[in-house]
């Protein structure tokens, strides 16, 4: 079966700066928007083919409304800097929707744990949980270095119970988001997380201790996004021989069951 993936030239509807280095870009791109699932990503072209920067940049899909998708991104390098300079009406080439997204667990209580810009893919997930399991509880734990780096709080607050932590104590609980997760006491919690690797490892460890299911959304440099370049390899937990030693973030992920990566 041929996967439903498209190279689509979208039209930027808005590109709003949210804090000194974070932006929210809304793009009219019906082919991709209509098929995007929570946790999937797009490869964004930040230049003409062959111009600098050369490769597309992988960005998770933050939100979808009808034919429009939203990307929440932080400027970290050349590609995202080009994106930040784009404006309403500009065309932008997208490749997507790509990868294996979140699998929504059958449970009464879902807990979404985001660190910094890693909060991005969790909004569409919250929407799909609310839509498919209207009776289930949704708790969102949002952590960031400081108040300024907390993103999309109003949208998350509308989706469920929101708890906040900051490393410097400028908003919410002073400390790491993993401490908020440690305060959860449900027995049948389904946890979904995206953020810095040490944070996700901490979340995965807590989940293992509590027997909670845990899905992690990984990030990697990648060239193609469709499983051809094999550049986005991540070692699997445990001992695996030959070509099974690594999984690939673009095709096997970006969302994995935590134990596939960290035993």
């Amino acid at each position: 079966m041929v996967a439903l993936q498209y190279v689509e030239t979208g039209c930027i509807q808005q590109n709003n700066q949210l804090n000194p280095d974070s932006f929210e870009m809304q793009i009219y791109a019906p082919q991709i928007a209509q098929r995007a699932e929570p946790g999937q990503f797009v490869m964004v072209s930040c230049s003409e083919v062959g111009r600098s920067p050369l490769l597309r940049r992988p960005l998770s899909i933050h939100d979808v409304h009808g034919d429009t998708l939203t990307l929440l991104y932080r400027v970290v390098g050349e590609g995202t800097a080009v994106m930040a300079a784009m404006g309403t009406g500009d065309p932008i080439s997208l490749l997507g929707p790509l990868g294996q997204g979140f699998t929504i667990a059958e449970t009464d209580h879902h807990c979404l744990v985001g660190g910094g810009i890693g909060i991005a893919p969790l909004l569409l997930l919250a929407r799909k949980i609310a839509w498919t399991q209207p009776k289930a509880g949704i708790t969102i734990l949002a952590g960031a270095r400081n108040r300024q780096e907390l993103l999309a709080l109003e949208k998350f607050a509308a989706m469920g119970t929101l708890h906040i932590s900051t490393d410097d104590g400028s908003e919410g609980q002073h400390g790491f988001v993993t401490q908020l997760l440690g305060n959860m006491h449900d027995t049948a919690l389904a946890v979904y997380t995206c953020g810095p690797t040490p944070m996700m490892q901490g979340v995965a460890k807590l989940c293992r201790e509590h027997g909670w299911g845990c899905q992690v959304s990984l990030e990697s440099h990648m060239a193609c996004g469709i499983g051809a370049c094999l550049g986005c390899a991540v070692a699997r937990s445990g001992i695996h021989a030959g070509a099974d030693k690594y999984v690939h973030v673009c095709k096997d992920g970006p969302v994995f069951n935590a134990e596939v990566i960290w035993a």
């Binding site: 498209y6 062959g50 050369l54 440099h221 060239a223 051809a228 370049c229 094999l230 390899a233 070509a243």
Partner: protein, 303 residues
């Protein structure tokens, strides 16, 4: 209508000269949402070895100015898994399939050629001679003319399929290697493989690739590739397949004018997965509008 794009690569008849480069096109099926593989001259699949290889630890790729470095480490599932899993899918794609092979010894190459020889889905074999010869202290087969010739003979002796030798640019004189493999019976040469390079993160003073060094590809290498294709096409009688930074019709035409009979699209597949198919149409349009034949272009450089 009526534009003839067909080319002959040794005993291999291709419907057009646009191919995809090994390692940049997976096993074809990854690209089926974006291009009809049967419309291409051929697809060259990701390199395979006798036994599975895990590949290198990450990070494996990094972008550089106008190009990218990769150190994937020849990750592949081995020839038996290829035959079991990939061949049935390739059959469905109805594409002309060229299988890229790699080994640590002459015997590896011979065994791979023998194993692939009876498969009707395999239209040709491309030999990656950039790998280190484990038995001979790790010197790459592709850097010494006599060793390159021995690999070529070993493959030719074990297959009836057309054999393309993929040349490394990381040598003193690429024409000497090309002449040696032609003499040893190669049906064609393809060039260039990646140029060895590296990149450093200044803040951490660490290499950006876990493998420290990697292969440079993309538009940055096109002038070097074009020069080598030109030089090799001057001295060999067998077809030359041009590879290196091609991402437009103009790039394709440059390689043909330099002496390439066909070309392979590599890194550009990552950026526009439909590019190879677009280039077939572009080339057809160019020949029609300019009322010329492919053969009029190949090697037509005016000096």
């Amino acid at each position: 209508m009526g534009v003839d794009l067909a080319v002959q690569i040794g005993g291999l008849s291709l419907k057009n000269p646009i191919m995809t480069a090994s390692g940049t096109f997976g096993y074809g099926e990854e690209f089926s949402p974006f291009v009809n593989c049967a419309d291409l001259g051929a697809i060259v699949v990701k390199g395979i070895s006798l036994l599975p290889r895990p590949g290198n630890p990450p990070p494996r790729i990094v972008e550089t100015q106008g190009g990218m470095l990769n150190a994937i480490g020849l990750q592949n599932g081995g020839v038996e898994r290829f035959i079991q899993v990939k061949i049935p899918m390739l059959r469905e794609l109805k594409a002309a399939v060229i299988v890229n092979i790699l080994g640590d010894s002459i015997d590896d190459y011979a065994a791979l050629a023998r194993r692939l020889d009876p498969l009707p889905e395999v239209h040709g074999i491309e030999v990656n001679i950039s790998c280190p010869n484990v038995k001979k202290g790790g010197v790459a087969f592709g850097t010494v003319p006599e060793m390159a010739a021995r690999v070529t003979r070993a493959v030719k002796d074990n297959t009836s399929k057309p054999v393309i030798i993929k040349l490394s640019p990381n040598v003193n004189d690429i024409t000497a290697i090309a002449l040696a493999v032609e003499e040893a019976g190669a049906d064609a040469v393809s060039l260039i493989n990646t140029l060895i390079g590296m990149a450093i993160d200044v803040q951490s003073r660490r290499p950006k690739l876990a493998n420290i060094i990697g292969g440079l590809s993309g538009p940055a290498i096109k002038p070097v590739a074009l020069r080598m294709v030109y030089q090799v096409a001057q001295v060999v009688g067998i077809p030359v397949i041009g590879i290196g930074g091609i991402n437009s019709l103009n790039d394709v035409l440059e390689f043909l004018i330099a002496g390439a009979t066909a070309v392979q699209i590599g890194t550009a597949n990552f950026i526009n997965p439909g590019l190879s198919g677009e280039l077939v149409q572009g080339l057809e349009g160019y020949l029609r509008e300019n009322d010329c034949k492919l053969a009029d272009l190949v090697g037509s450089l005016q000096t």
